[in-house]
Symmetry: C2
Subunit: 326 residues, 2 copies
Amino acid sequence: MMIVEDSTSGAMAYASMNEGWGRALRFGAYDDDVISRLRWMEDTLAPALRSAINHVGGIDVNGLIGRALHMGDECHNRDIAASALLFKLLAPALATVVDEHQALTEVLAFLAQQEHFFLNVGMAACKASAVAASNIPFSTMVTAMARNGTDVGIMVSGMGDRWFTAPAHVAQGLYFPGFSEADASPDLGDSAITETAGIGAFAMATAPAIVGFVGGTAADARQYTEEMYGITLGENMNFTLPPLDFRGTPTGVDVRAVVESGIAPVVNTGIAHKEAGRGLVGAGVVRIPLEAFEGALRAIHGEWILGWPMVRFESGREYRAGSGDG
Amino acid sequence: MMIVEDSTSGAMAYASMNEGWGRALRFGAYDDDVISRLRWMEDTLAPALRSAINHVGGIDVNGLIGRALHMGDECHNRDIAASALLFKLLAPALATVVDEHQALTEVLAFLAQQEHFFLNVGMAACKASAVAASNIPFSTMVTAMARNGTDVGIMVSGMGDRWFTAPAHVAQGLYFPGFSEADASPDLGDSAITETAGIGAFAMATAPAIVGFVGGTAADARQYTEEMYGITLGENMNFTLPPLDFRGTPTGVDVRAVVESGIAPVVNTGIAHKEAGRGLVGAGVVRIPLEAFEGALRAIHGEWILGWPMVRFESGREYRAGSGDG
């Protein structure tokens, strides 16, 4: 397990290590090859990485994301640059701390060919940021978007631990040879935490090469990012987009802006087979259902506007009803 | 020394290893630090790389360039992705072949922090391609563009080993702290072989982040590439540009197209100090002087058109004068 801390707030988040694409436990596969790789990751990879990360004094994950966004990654389905930068950071440290020659060679070989190893690292960093932004009174900012293959749920900063859900869509995209949309599970997984934090599909303008994996054109990729500025509260100047002359990524989805505009947040995503145990079969682009945002806004209206005296009492601070800036 | 072979023609090209930016022999610096680094490269780095490259059976350099162009490199002044991809290829092999722990750690650390290590590798590959395209009868394609700090010279495929020269311009760009255009040498170096082969400034559309190093905007970077399609003979589908929906790089400058259009080839480049021994002081964009192309075209006219019977005799083959397609 990897641990990422938001150093400002102290918020912590956690992720497993990425096993690779295709047949992986993460996509529901659990045959002998999958299990033996996981055992190797536990026995050899994890201790080596722990020592190397301690040796370099920890890793600035957001710094890596910022650099990778200048190298054609959007850091959700395209992590090749971020994984390479992380590898460059770790390889000399691994050579220093791993005494056993065979183990060192195996670890370097695994990390060198694993183009999505950074994905889970970045997801934990995005989650730590989202946790830091949670539970702000009267904030309408979305702090989680997650899918389980049947439903999609979102969380809203000012609404505590409640999930607002709606049925999941099926992604539109490209399938690996031998598979088609008939094999696809509805939208699935926790990786939309990247879009929640303003990268992934929200940063696709900087990653035109990803259209070879998820479909569409370079203009589509740019359009997704441009569109997301219409439903987000800020621009993250630590995550800048060279093709937009270093404009910051659109960050912090506002429930009110989504409902008012009818623009649903966009996510790019791997597509899992609808039968358990078959793993990843393609990749594409999908929208978080508008119904989840409408449900959240109805609840906000009921509690913050109609239920105003109660909220005022509970928070113990003065707020003007209906003027929250998220 | 590194050797790159064009596997189709067997043409060979050679380059020294990149020492890094700033104070380096390549930019005229030769103090004790520079010399001791070169000694380490000779004694430790070179043997390790030789063994590792043999271990992996050689490296497909053009394949790396093609992938790096999808990661925001233009592979002249931005080589961070190509260097990282090369590092990922070599690191596991280095761990396998280098027995001495200290040497392995030093080599991995040097390569991991050297973001331009790939530049010289790519230059040799570009040179091998240019050699393969040389000495084609009646071809008006440019096969070399090189600068020595006072003059710029070009070679033309059908004109043998002759250089056509003109005074070098000073690049327009950004200077390191404490330096300005008053310190700049006129355009200098052999790295414009990258533009000769259709990458570097010719591929800047895919590398908008480079404007933070050489100046200008993302739109400028794209414009340089668009402009170069007007003076080149082909598009290289092994080197595609995602922001232009995977159009191939503009490749093969045509002397006639340059003179007819008045569009001079663009080069992005490090800027050396005008005093020897001071090294690199900035980076920018410069044009190869039109006068060199005009001189070449005058010579071509004199020999191929006015001197037609002689050329026909020497080549021993039938050509229609004045209709060469380059």
